[in-house]
C-alpha cells in the first residue's frame, strides 16, 4: 500500500508541475489582459497533438520540445492580434471570443486528427526502481522539464528587460506606457508566451496521457482551480497550488474514484473563492 502511495505521489507531482506550467500561462494572460482565456486548455491539447504529429512525421519526439513552443508563441501572437485585440476592452466579450476560439480549435483537431484517442510511445522506454516499484523514467523527466521551464519563466520575469516590462504593464498600464514601455507589443508578447507555455505543457504531457481533441476540457478547470487557490495574479502561489492539488487528487484517487478526487478539489476551490478570494497564500487584506 505504501509503495502505491509513493507512486501516486510521484504521478501527482509530475502532473502538478505540468498543470503549474499551463496555469502560469493562463495566469499571466489573465493578469495582463484581465480576461479568462477559455481556449487555454485547447492550446495545451494542440501542443499534445502537435507532439504526436511530430513523432508521426519525423519519428523523433525530442524535436517537439523545440518546435511546438515556437509554434505556440507564433500562434499566441496571432491570436492576440487577430481575435483578442478588437474585444480587449470588454472582459465579457473577450471570454466569449475565447470560447469561440476554443470551439474552432477543438473541432479543427477533430476534423483533422480524428476522434479516437491516440497514445504516444514512452520516449525513454526505461523504468527505474522506486519504492520497490518499476517506475517510468519519462515521468520523472517530465517533472524535471516542467520544473525547469517554470524556473526559466520566473527567471525571465525577474531578470530580463522584457520580463520587467511585462510586470510593469501588469502593475500599472498607464504608468508603464508613460515610461515608454511598448504596452501594445507587451500584450501580444504575453499572449505568445502564455500560449507557448500551454503548448509546451502539451508536449511534456503527451506521452503520459492519451492524445485527443477533448484533452483541454479536463485540464482547463484544473488550471482555473490552481490560479484561484494560488491567488489571481500570484504566480508562485499558482505554481504551488497546482502541485498541491495534483498530489492531493493523486492521493484521494488511491482510496476513491478519480471523480471524487476532482469533486474534492472543486469544493476546496469554492471555499477558497468565498473565504479568501485573493488566494490561499495571500496575506489577509483589510
Amino acid at each position: 500500500m505504501y509503495d502505491l502511495i509513493g507512486v501516486l505521489l510521484l504521478n501527482g507531482l509530475a502532473w502538478g508541475l505540468i498543470i503549474a506550467l499551463i496555469a502560469l500561462g493562463l495566469s499571466i494572460i489573465f493578469g495582463l489582459l484581465d480576461f479568462i482565456n477559455i481556449a487555454h486548455g485547447d492550446l495545451f491539447m494542440i501542443g499534445a497533438v502537435l507532439a504526436w504529429t511530430t513523432v508521426d512525421v519525423t519519428g523523433n519526439f525530442w524535436i517537439a520540445f523545440v518546435l511546438v513552443p515556437l509554434i505556440g508563441f507564433a500562434a499566441g501572437c496571432l491570436i492576440e492580434r487577430g481575435v483578442m485585440r478588437p474585444v480587449e476592452n470588454s472582459p465579457a466579450l473577450s471570454i466569449v471570443a475565447s470560447f469561440g476560439l476554443s470551439l474552432i480549435l477543438q473541432e479543427g483537431v477533430r476534423a483533422t486528427f480524428g476522434t479516437t484517442p491516440k497514445r504516444l510511445m514512452d520516449p525513454l522506454g526505461v523504468t527505474v526502481e522506486l519504492f520497490g516499484f518499476q517506475y517510468e523514467a519519462y515521468r520523472l523527466l517530465a517533472a524535471l522539464i516542467a520544473a525547469l521551464a517554470i524556473a526559466g519563466f520566473f527567471l525571465f520575469l525577474r531578470r530580463t528587460k522584457l520580463g520587467t516590462w511585462m510586470r510593469a504593464v501588469r502593475q500599472d498600464r498607464e504608468m508603464a506606457i508613460a515610461m515608454g514601455v511598448p504596452a501594445d507589443r507587451i500584450f501580444m508578447f504575453t499572449f505568445g508566451i502564455g500560449a507557448a507555455m500551454a503548448m509546451l505543457g502539451g508536449v511534456v504531457a503527451a506521452p503520459i496521457t492519451s492524445v485527443e481533441f477533448r484533452l483541454g476540457l479536463d485540464v482547463l478547470p484544473l488550471c482555473f482551480i490552481a490560479v484561484i487557490i494560488g491567488g489571481l495574479g500570484n504566480l508562485p502561489g499558482t505554481a504551488a497550488a497546482a502541485v498541491l492539488l495534483a498530489v492531493m487528487e493523486g492521493l484521494v484517487s488511491a482510496f476513491a474514484e478519480p471523480t471524487t478526487a476532482r469533486i474534492v478539489s472543486l469544493v476546496v476551490m469554492s471555499v477558497v473563492l468565498l473565504v479568501r478570494p485573493n488566494g490561499l497564500f495571500a496575506p489577509a487584506r483589510r
Binding site: 465579457a92 466579450l93 470560447f99 469561440g100 474552432i104 477543438q106 473541432e107 469554492s270 473563492l273
Partner: protein, 333 residues
C-alpha cells in the same frame, strides 16, 4: 420608450407576430419538412435557457457559465418524477422546475457574493461539481447515456386525451409555457425590481447609495434565472423524452452565453433571436458538413468583433437609420 410600449400600433404588430408564432404547426410544414415544427419547439425551449443567461448577464451584469446546472436539474427532476417517484406528468414537471429553482436559491447565496470573473468561475465550478456527481451516480441518473422517459398524456377528461406525441399539440404546449415565461420577464423587467437590477449592473456602489440592496437584487435575479433554466430543462426532458448528464456540462452553459451574446444581451427577445439563428444554422450546416462547431466558433468571433450588441443591436441600428427620431435620447457610450 416606456410610455408608448402599449400603443395600439405596437399592440397590433405584437398580436400579429404572436398569431404567426402560434400558427407555426400549420404554415411551416407547407414550406419545409414537417420536422421543422419540432425544431421550432426546440428553439423555444433553448431560448428560455439563453434567457436565463441573459437575465443574469444582460440585466444584472453577471456572466454565468453554469446555467446548464439548472437546466440539467430541471430535466432530471422530470425524469426522476416519472421514472423513480411515479409523480405523473404535472407532478414531474413541477418537481423539475421546483428542484432547479431551489438549487439556484441555495447556490445563489454563495455565488452572488462574488462578481466579475470570480462569479463566472464559481458558476463553472458549481456546475462541474454537480455534473461529476450526476455522472458518478450512474445507477440513478444514467450518467452520460441518460434516462429515456415514457410520457403519460398531460390531459385526460371524459375520454379526451391530449399528449405530446402529436406534433402540433407538443409545439403549442411548449409555446404556452415559454410564452408565460417571456410574459413574466416582460413584467418583472419593467418593474422597479428590473430598473434596480440595471442600476446595480451599471454602478453598484452608487445604486447602494440610493438605497438599493445589490446582494438581494442579484440574488433574486439568480433564483429567477435558475427558474427559467429549470423550466427550459423540464420542457426539454418532456420534449425529447430524455434526460442526460451531458446537458449539464459547462460547454452547454457556454452555448447559452453564445446564443445570448449573438442575439443581443440585455434585450428581451435578443436571446430568442440568437437561439433561433444558431439552431437553424446548426440544422442547415450539420446536414452538409459535420464540423458545424467550427463555423459556430468563427461566427461567434465575428459577431463579438463587428456586432458586439448582437442581432438585436443590428436590428435596433437599422430601425434607427430608417426612421430618425429627433426626440430619441443620445446614445449612451
Amino acid at each position: 420608450m416606456s410610455s408608448d410600449v402599449l400603443s395600439p400600433g405596437r399592440l397590433a404588430i405584437f398580436a400579429a407576430v404572436l398569431l404567426l408564432v402560434a400558427a407555426v404547426p400549420w404554415w411551416l410544414p407547407a414550406l419545409v419538412e414537417d420536422y421543422w415544427v419540432d425544431i421550432a419547439a426546440e428553439i423555444l425551449i433553448w431560448s428560455l435557457f439563453a434567457a436565463s443567461v441573459n437575465l443574469l448577464y444582460g440585466y444584472a451584469g453577471l456572466l454565468s457559465f453554469g446555467q446548464a446546472l439548472y437546466f440539467g436539474v430541471g430535466a432530471y427532476g422530470v425524469a426522476f418524477g416519472l421514472q423513480h417517484f411515479g409523480l405523473g406528468f404535472w407532478g414531474s414537471m413541477g418537481l423539475g422546475v421546483t428542484a432547479a429553482t431551489a438549487m439556484a436559491a441555495v447556490a445563489g447565496i454563495f455565488a452572488v457574493r462574488l462578481t466579475w470573473h470570480y462569479f463566472s468561475i464559481i458558476t463553472i465550478v458549481f456546475g462541474l461539481i454537480l455534473y461529476l456527481l450526476t455522472v458518478g451516480a450512474k445507477d440513478l441518473t444514467g450518467g452520460d447515456d441518460g434516462l429515456s422517459l415514457s410520457l403519460p398524456p398531460f390531459f385526460s377528461l371524459g375520454g379526451v386525451e391530449l399528449d405530446l406525441f402529436d406534433q402540433a399539440t407538443q409545439y403549442l404546449f411548449v409555446l404556452f409555457f415559454v410564452g408565460l415565461c417571456y410574459g413574466a420577464m416582460w413584467v418583472v423587467l419593467r418593474s422597479p425590481f428590473g430598473y434596480g437590477l440595471k442600476a446595480v449592473r451599471e454602478n453598484a456602489p452608487r445604486a447602494g447609495l440610493i438605497g438599493l440592496d445589490a446582494f438581494w437584487l442579484r440574488y433574486a435575479a439568480f433564483v429567477m434565472a435558475g427558474f427559467l433554466a429549470g423550466m427550459g430543462g423540464a420542457l426539454f426532458a418532456l420534449f425529447s423524452r430524455y434526460a442526460s448528464a451531458q446537458y449539464m456540462y459547462w460547454t452547454v452553459s457556454g452555448e447559452g452565453v453564445i446564443w445570448t451574446i449573438v442575439g443581443g444581451a440585455g434585450t428581451l427577445f435578443g436571446p430568442l433571436i440568437g437561439t433561433a439563428a444558431l439552431i437553424v444554422l446548426r440544422e442547415e450546416i450539420s446536414s452538409i458538413w459535420e464540423h458545424y462547431l467550427m463555423v459556430l466558433g468563427v461566427i461567434v468571433i465575428l459577431m463579438v468583433t463587428f456586432a458586439p450588441r448582437g442581432f438585436a443591436g443590428l436590428i435596433e441600428d437599422a430601425v434607427r437609420r430608417l426612421k430618425p427620431t429627433p426626440s430619441a435620447p443620445p446614445r449612451s457610450e
